[in-house]
Symmetry: C2
Subunit: 164 residues, 2 copies
Amino acid sequence: MQPVRGQVAALLPKNLDMAERKRMNTATCPVARALDLVGDRWSLLIVRDAFDGVSRFSDFQASLGAARNILASRLKALVQEGILESQPAADGSAYQQYVLTPRGQALFPVIVGLRQWGEGQLFARGERRSRLVDRESGQPVARLGVESADGRPLQFDEVQVVGK
Amino acid sequence: MQPVRGQVAALLPKNLDMAERKRMNTATCPVARALDLVGDRWSLLIVRDAFDGVSRFSDFQASLGAARNILASRLKALVQEGILESQPAADGSAYQQYVLTPRGQALFPVIVGLRQWGEGQLFARGERRSRLVDRESGQPVARLGVESADGRPLQFDEVQVVGK
């Protein structure tokens, strides 16, 4: 799944101008490169829906309430970036379906992190919200935590970025 | 840190129209509420920089290369949403500084998740990139993983969203 040198440019969103594409292509910060592909609300909501099993254009549209042209451009970009794959519908109908590639599936902890941040920060106590549960036990998943290589919990002030 | 019912609207970005604000205010999906606040590239890059210790307008601008008006509007929104706090500079100068609130600090796993996805998916083997390390050991942090309440690793197809 890793691009070889020179192919990274092909993964960048098409709506960036040349200077911005060049800058991002050469960004040494993985957060910046990640956000160039998924740093907008629609793209991450589409990925969220894909994790929930949504696969057809009309079902994404019903779920997201996005305008057709916006949804179409975001789906196209996600396919170009290798996050979604477009394929004939599993039921043999004329529809296309969009499914997560391994690169898209690797966004699972990001979506769960956003969910847990929302749960903890943006809902009143007792306010109705959806929950992410382990299918087997029906229990909520554990809170994501950053840990050291040997398993100690790490706070944000216990880490640093090197090699910028 | 949790808003009480009725205060959630005050946390929403100011650039949404009334219908959109109403929809998001009542969204039961924590991912959607989260992305309404941080679902754009600039906001999450600002939060990334704040984790790295950037605090002044001019330093954010130098790091991000964002236009002044875009940076100013994003910083203002992040303060309004309770993610950053604006305060007099620690050195007693006339400058303001922007620091993460506890709500902003709680985005740590999200930023680490984006970083690790970028590292794993968007860099060629051996390509130069920054690294996030444990200050104490100098070792890279562990990969984030979603787990069950009792500590079993969970893949995306082993969970489900309930109560939508």
